[in-house]
């Protein structure tokens, strides 16, 4: 577990988008984010899993909405003025997938110092180790960098695109 593997696993720490979910500060690399929009009308999908409750029309494409909060046992704060949908595109086994991720608030584009990056605590964290690529510090907060592909694979049941070897690397 050294700084070099961490940098490999989390490319471009200079360009992270930080956002709030369940009261925690999280971050995703800006490269996976297509756009950040105010919540449009969401069409509920009956019988769907709680983490993917509906569909939206995003520029003529129908994309699913994903709510990661129930997956990690977070309280689902109702939509308010700060709520945003982060439209992200991730690479999964069956090709690229575009989903709208619910964020309670989107903060800023931030840079994280690779030297300050730590793995997620093995005990006592709500985050399974594989779901977080690392924990950084920014503006006096801890920032969890999500390993979004792994979350979709492990918790939402979408086959991932990484082979086992790469997985070991990204889990730190």
């Amino acid at each position: 577990m050294n700084a070099i593997t961490q940098i490999k696993a989390v490319p471009n720490l200079d360009n992270m988008v930080s956002f709030m979910m369940g009261g925690e500060v999280l971050a995703l690399p800006s490269s996976v984010i297509r756009e950040i929009i105010e919540p449009p009308h969401i069409t509920p999908v009956p019988l769907a899993d709680i983490h993917s409750p509906g569909l939206i029309n995003n520029r003529g494409n129908v994309i699913p909405i994903t709510d990661l909060r129930p997956v990690f046992g977070m309280v689902q704060k109702p939509f308010d003025l700060d709520t945003r949908i982060m439209v992200i595109e991730i690479e999964m086994a069956e090709g690229p997938m575009v989903v709208g991720l619910i964020a309670e608030k989107v903060d800023a584009v931030i840079s994280l110092d690779p030297a300050m990056l730590r793995p997620v605590a093995a005990v006592g964290s709500r985050w399974p180790a594989a779901s977080v690529a690392g924990v950084g510090r920014w503006d006096g907060h801890f920032v969890h960098i999500l390993n979004i592909e792994r979350i979709f694979e492990d918790h939402l049941g979408i086959p991932g695109s990484l082979n086992d070897c790469e997985k070991i690397k990204t889990t730190l």
């Binding site: 009308h41 569909l55 003529g60 129908v62 699913p64 049941g157």
Partner: protein, 672 residues
């Protein structure tokens, strides 16, 4: 060869080999048809020529002998026999695999060449094809060839490469070739030369043993538009002979020339261009990569959505002019949609060649003599549906012959005509296409199938099933495995795969059979996959679309049933018992259903089922958008669509929702 050229070659070769196979199978039925013989010969000749041109040397060598066999037939020295057709079909397979870039054992080529010779009963030497070259008089046959050519001056503009042609000649002559370029006498002054035109003529000497036809073949695509003068070298013109290889750049970059309209130049480019390659293809058609069509279809889909949004907007603004404009756009969009769909449609005949071939092979393998009759070959379906259908149909046909037809002796014993008949027929039925495969074999034994299904735990022992329900069991996964099929009168090797493919295309399968008389497998498929007519309904606050093709009627929910709250129940409607499914319950909508709910009667899995909706909104053009894997696994919705106001509505997969919600219920009913 760059990718684009390769693609063009691949497409051309594809149409040629299709035509070749069709020709061979036609000849099997009608060996005397000289027109078909000529067609086969032309196809082979073109495959050889283009193959050599694009570097498929092994292919070209092999086809050379194949072609020679048919030249024998064409000239009447030998005739079409079953043997020859059999060998030819095998040779066709080799061509296909060579074109696909496989590298089969070279022994295969040699064996087939021998077999071809044996089948034509001749030691075959390659005779001259199409235009026999004028015999050259006055020069000894052993003298080297002298070839004088001037190429079409726009050869480079149309994508030709003179250097490649000359290199080909050099290769033909085993590098023992001399090339001299001549500048035309009436070339324009240097400043007026067009660097993409050819102003040179060539004199090329080739070794005496080079085949005359091989030399001519190099220029087969240009022969109508160039001057080509091939003769034996009159004695002692050998003077300038060198081993020179023509360097490419100087020839083209520093041309000396004739003006484009010079009389020395051949006639203008005409239909002759690429004559060989276009032979055997219908005039006025073009091949387009299917992605482009998909692209157009996507855009038409967007247009339909935009148009319905516009209509919604205009209804809020009271303007006659605007409304007129909206009407016009609506009409145009509809027309465009129909045209685009028509482009995507492809006749069933585009895949029937495979079936004729399959029938030929099956007949050989099983020893059963039968006729394959194809009806409604011109029935058109979406190209993607046709492509996806090939495998299921091959499967069903194979089963029909393998397990349906009796041996010829058994047929005679049963008082049937000795030759069996398998019919593949296609026809339109509303917005669907029905494709059925019928055999006149021994048919399906329902008792046997039911026994088997009970043994496999697919149905309860006491269940009462209709005939069609029993036959449908054949399609269940796990009904039968390869080793049980032969001792069972039924079929079913992998028929669950067939079922999955067909349902993936939003189609269904229906099986009927009369014991001792034969069986029919009918596939019902939608015309197209991209846009459907949908019936929009409201359940709770949300709107949903049901494919109109599945809808058989709409009735009011009888008042006495409004208080019933179970999700599924069986009710009496117009003296019929109908299972109904309350969508409010199925979709978990809270609260009571409004009064005057409607029942949408749909046909699902050969059963009429009523879906109870709060309100019917109307029928709409529905552009289908795929769902992400997060939602496809629900197996309740087949897609989503964007409505006029920009919101998303789900498309209900009728067969799936009935199966997932209702199957337990109806099984219970049957068992009870």
């Amino acid at each position: 060869m760059d990718q684009e050229t390769e693609e063009v070659f691949r497409q051309e070769a594809e149409s040629l080999i299709e035509s070749l196979q069709a020709g061979l199978l036609d000849l099997k039925r009608d060996p005397e048809n000289m027109e078909v013989v000529s067609q086969v010969f032309r196809d082979l000749h073109t495959i050889k020529g283009t193959g050599a041109m694009f570097g498929f040397q092994r292919l070209a060598d092999f086809v050379h002998d194949f072609e020679a066999a048919f030249e024998g037939v064409r000239s009447g020295t030998t005739s079409i026999t079953d043997d020859l057709i059999d060998v030819s079909l095998k040779a066709y397979d080799l061509i296909v695999s060579l074109l696909e870039g496989d590298a089969p054992d070279p022994q295969v080529d040699a064996d087939l060449k021998r077999a071809l010779k044996a089948a034509t009963g001749a030691e075959v030497a390659m005779p001259n094809s199409e235009e026999p070259a004028p015999t050259v008089s006055g020069a000894p046959l052993g003298a080297p060839w002298l070839l004088k050519i001037s190429l079409p001056d726009d050869l480079i503009e149309i994508g030709g490469n003179p250097v490649a042609l000359i290199n080909e000649l050099i290769e033909l002559g085993n590098n023992d070739v001399s090339v001299k370029a001549r500048v035309g006498e009436t070339s324009p002054v240097f400043s007026e030369m067009n660097p993409s035109k050819i102003y040179l003529a060539w004199e090329i000497e080739l070794p005496a043993e080079t085949g005359e036809q091989d030399i001519r073949d190099v220029f087969m695509f240009h022969e109508g538009r160039m001057t080509l003068d091939l003769m034996r070298v009159p004695e002692s013109v050998d003077a300038a002979r060198t081993d020179a290889v023509a360097p490419a750049a100087p020839f083209v970059a520093a041309p000396a020339a004739t003006p484009a309209d010079n009389a020395q130049k051949p006639q203008s480019a005409g239909p002759d261009k690429k004559r060989g390659a276009t032979a055997g293809r219908t005039k006025g058609q073009m091949r387009v990569p299917s992605e482009r069509l998909d692209d157009i279809m996507d855009r038409v889909g967007e247009l339909v959505i935009a148009e319905s949004r516009l209509a919604t907007l205009s209804s809020k603004i009271d303007s006659l002019e605007l409304r007129e404009m909206v009407e016009t756009i609506k009409r145009l969009a509809l027309g465009l949609r129909h045209t685009t769909m028509a482009i995507r449609l492809s006749p069933l005949s585009s895949i029937t060649g495979k079936f004729h071939r399959l029938a030929h092979d099956l007949s050989g393998k099983t020893g059963k003599k039968f006729d394959l009759i194809i009806e409604g070959e011109d029935t058109e379906l979406d190209k993607s549906v046709i492509d996806a259908l090939t495998d299921p149909l091959v499967h069903i046909l194979r089963n029909a012959v393998d397990h349906g037809l009796e041996s010829n002796a058994d047929r005679v014993a049963a008082g049937k005509p000795e030759r069996g008949t398998v019919t593949l027929s296609a026809r339109h039925s509303g917005a669907d296409v029905l494709i059925s495969v019928t055999d006149d074999g021994k048919g399906l034994n329902p008792d046997f199938i039911k026994e088997r299904a009970v043994a496999r735990g697919l149905v309860e022992p006491g269940a009462t099933l209709s005939r069609n329900e029993i036959f449908a069991l054949l399609l269940e996964p796990g009904f039968s495995t390869a080793e049980t099929v032969t001792d069972l009168s039924g079929r079913g090797v992998g028929t669950d795969v067939v079922k999955n493919t067909v349902e993936g295309l939003r189609g269904s399968i229906y099986i009927d059979s009369e014991l001792g008389r034969g069986a029919t497998f009918t596939l019902r498929l939608p015309l197209t996959l991209a846009i459907i007519e949908g019936l929009m309904i409201q359940v709770g606050t949300e709107r949903y679309t049901v494919p109109l093709s599945a809808v058989e009627g709409i009735v009011e929910l009888p008042e006495k049933l409004e208080a019933v709250t179970e999700m599924c129940s069986v009710v009496e409607l117009d003296d019929n018992l109908v299972s109904i499914l309350r969508l409010r319950k199925a979709f978990g909508v809270p609260g009571d259903a409004p009064r005057h709910s409607k029942i949408v009667l749909v046909r699902a899995n050969d059963e009429q089922v009523g879906l109870v909706a709060d309100r019917i909104i109307g029928s709409f053009q529905t552009v289908i958008k795929q769902l992400s894997p997060l939602h496809t696994r629900l197996n309740v919705f087949s897609g989503a669509t964007i409505l006029g106001d920009g919101t998303v509505a789900l498309i209900v997969d009728v067969a799936q929702i009935v199966r997932s919600q209702n199957i337990e219920n109806s099984q219970k009913r049957r068992v009870a």
